[in-house]
């Protein structure tokens, strides 16, 4: 078994299992606590709609907080969108998913995903600078913050190393192997590290953002409180 076969096979399977089971376990750990009934007379009963409203409402700061937090959030949006485009619209990645699941979708031109990669890398660097220089963020930060940053950055950097030549013809789905097999194996390993870390650290906010906002949205709507 070659290194690439190993990381594409058993290592990938294990990392995916840890990702899925770990995420499920963390969510179970949250929802398995007993709920206490709320006997107060509700002001409003459209709590499900309130949960949805809160998910949307907290996607961008209120007017009162835009001056202080707007730039940081704009940067966060930039690298989140960049990451999304790289992961889900780059032809080789779609090919990877197709080989696993048989599901595929049109890719964006390589130039767009290269730009998205650059935006994601620069955005993550700005986020790290902010974390290291802003007194509040520095105080709040712990191992999770920095390790999650590394785990997110690694697939971007190792992915760049795989790109020895332009990936043509876009948007045609990728061939099975690029030229540099060793770099591809490392790239896959970095992705697998992200999968393994996801359920244990703050990367889980990709799921918890919706859970947390929805919780507040439902509870606050019941009271008729602003979201």
């Amino acid at each position: 078994m070659t290194l690439l076969e190993f990381v594409r096979g058993p290592v990938f399977a294990v990392s995916l299992a840890v990702f899925l089971l770990g995420t499920a376990w963390r969510l179970y750990g949250i929802f398995s606590w007993p709920s206490k009934p709320d006997y107060s007379e509700p002001r409003r009963t459209d709590t499900a709609a309130g949960a949805c409203r809160a998910i949307l409402r907290h996607m961008w700061p209120r007017r009162e907080f835009q001056r202080s937090g707007g730039a940081q959030i704009a940067n966060a949006y930039a690298y989140h969108i960049g990451l999304f485009l790289v992961v889900f619209t780059f032809a080789p990645h779609i090919g990877f998913v197709r080989r696993l699941t048989g599901i595929a979708w049109p890719a964006l031109p390589d130039a767009v995903t290269y730009l998205a990669t650059a935006v994601a890398i620069v955005g993550l660097l700005i986020a790290l600078m902010s974390r290291l220089t802003n007194g509040v963020q520095r105080l709040l930060s712990n191992f999770d913050d920095y390790f999650s940053w590394v785990v997110t950055m690694l697939p971007l950097v190792t992915g760049m190393a795989v790109l020895e030549r332009p990936y043509v013809p876009a948007p045609v789905i990728a061939p099975a192997l690029p030229t540099n097999v060793a770099f591809l194996a490392i790239h896959l390993l970095s992705l697998e590290l992200l999968f393994v870390w996801f359920p244990f650290g703050k990367l889980m906010h990709a799921v918890l953002a919706f859970v947390s906002r929805a919780r507040t949205g439902a509870d606050f709507t019941r009271k008729g409180v602003a979201l």
Binding site: G29, S40, L140, L208
Partner: protein, 450 residues
């Protein structure tokens, strides 16, 4: 005055009411060992665990946006005043004792147990520098209810016997005497007799049956008795079947503020039993912020089932009456700005009621910048105004409020919380600020058409 407590004497001469500045602070109650204190805190914290709390404990991304929303951070730029940082020991306890990977953290010693010394260090953050105003939740991208979590963290602090001197003293007095500020049933009766005589108005007390039970804040009884007269005048105007009850009049809930769930329950049940005893259909809460949260949103939990009567803040009651055309008011004809009490507006959901009433009063409403649900706290909520050592930072936070009020350009400043009123009086005295916060209730009573 009824102040017979020589250990923690009350100070009735200062602009704000609390116990006199202690010569020697005692910010730890009881004689438990440090290990026992830490253990009690952790047990209390785990007891409060729920899916909501667990969600919030798991969700923080350490972005720090909540800091900018906090008045105490805003005036100091001290990172330790970042709202979510105030919960650090409890997040640590959660991860170690209650989180989904708690066993992993314990096995590898990744999260040490919280110590009593850490809790002592966090006392200032959880009590002195958090009014539980909830502004931080509006700024949090994850929507974490940080104020709610601080309330739960206070349960753990009380269990550990680590409550600030003054807050513990007034809370203990409230549990023992029925009022945190010496407004015992005897004092209440004396006050009512005096007010009836002075103002020539009937203030019904201890009626067997009444449709409406009116409750009070001891701040009103001891410092702003005009509010009691105002409510009597409004009720007379409405020909309302109402009463005060000496077995359930004190709406402030220092059990809630100090973090003692049992005391909170006792204080809520006194009101609930009194309303039941007179068959009230409506219980009216006074101009007090946390009293609203304590009974409107948490009272039924103490009762164990839905309350058999409606609970309304006085501003909600007056707005309802105005909407129904039962309040006949002379136009005010002045510009007014309204300070939103955090627990009534942002955390209580009654932001619209005072504005509706001001509209009925014919006031020209001039909103402050960052108003309504995003209003800045006056700095005195959550029991902070009782704590002497918190004064310096609280006064600095009050400067935000003064700037807001001045920016509104309004002639009249009003609100519907006697604790805010106390904080404004104290702040105005400290800064020699020539503004006075007026009670919306009293303003309404003064404009009634006879």
């Amino acid at each position: 005055m009824s102040d017979i407590d020589a250990t923690h004497p009350l100070d009735f001469d200062a602009p704000r009411l609390t116990v006199k500045r202690p010569a020697v602070r005692n910010d730890a109650q009881g004689t438990a060992s440090d290990a026992e204190r830490a253990s009690r805190a952790m047990s209390a914290f785990v007891r409060d665990m729920s899916p909501g709390v667990a969600t919030y404990m798991e969700s923080c991304i350490h972005c720090g946006h909540c800091a900018e929303a906090c008045h105490f951070y805003q005036v100091s730029h001290e990172p330790q005043f970042t709202p979510i940082w105030k919960l650090k020991p409890f997040k640590q306890a959660y991860k170690r004792e209650a989180g989904p990977y708690a066993w992993f953290y314990r096995m590898f010693g990744l999260k040490p147990p919280v110590t009593a010394d850490e809790l002592r260090d966090w006392q200032e953050l959880l009590y002195d520098t958090c009014t539980m105003c909830g502004r931080c939740t509006l700024a949090c991208p994850m929507g974490i209810d940080i104020a709610g979590l601080v309330g739960l963290a206070r349960h753990a602090m009380f269990a550990a016997g680590l409550v600030p001197h003054e807050l513990w003293a007034v809370a203990e007095r409230a549990e023992r005497e029925g009022s945190p500020l010496g407004a015992t049933p005897k004092v209440l009766k004396e006050r009512i007799a005096w007010l009836e005589d002075e103002h020539g108005i009937e203030i019904p007390l201890d009626r067997d049956r009444a449709d409406v039970l009116v409750t009070l804040s001891s701040v009103e009884i001891m410092k702003y008795p005009g509010s009691i007269v105002a409510v009597a005048r409004v009720m007379k105007h409405l020909a309302c079947d109402w009463s005060l009850r000496s077995d359930g009049y004190e709406a402030t809930n220092f059990g809630l503020l100090s973090g003692n769930l049992e005391w909170q329950r006792d204080m809520s049940l006194r009101l609930i039993r009194a309303a039941e005893a007179c068959g009230a259909k409506v219980l009216i809460l006074p101009e007090c912020g946390h009293a609203y949260g304590a009974l409107r949103w948490q009272g039924a939990q103490a009762y164990g089932k839905p309350l058999p009567f409606r609970v309304l803040h006085i501003s909600e009651f007056l707005a309802e009456q105005a909407r129904a055309g039962r309040l006949r008011l002379k136009p005010l004809g002045k510009s007014v700005t309204f300070h939103d009490p955090c627990q009534v507006s942002r955390r209580g959901g009654a932001t619209a009621a005072p504005r509706e009433l001001l509209h009925a009063l014919g006031a020209k409403l001039r909103e402050m910048p960052d108003t309504g649900d995003a209003n800045w706290c006056c700095g005195g909520g959550g029991g902070v105004v009782t704590i002497h050592r918190a004064d310096e930072l609280r006064h600095r936070a009050f400067e935000i409020k003064m700037k807001q009020v001045e920016a509104s350009g309004a002639e009249v400043l009003t609100s519907s919380c006697s604790n805010c009123r106390l904080t404004f009086d104290d702040g105005a005295a400290h800064f020699k600020w020539p503004r006075k916060l007026e009670s919306l209730l009293e303003m309404t009573a003064d404009r009634l058409v006879d």
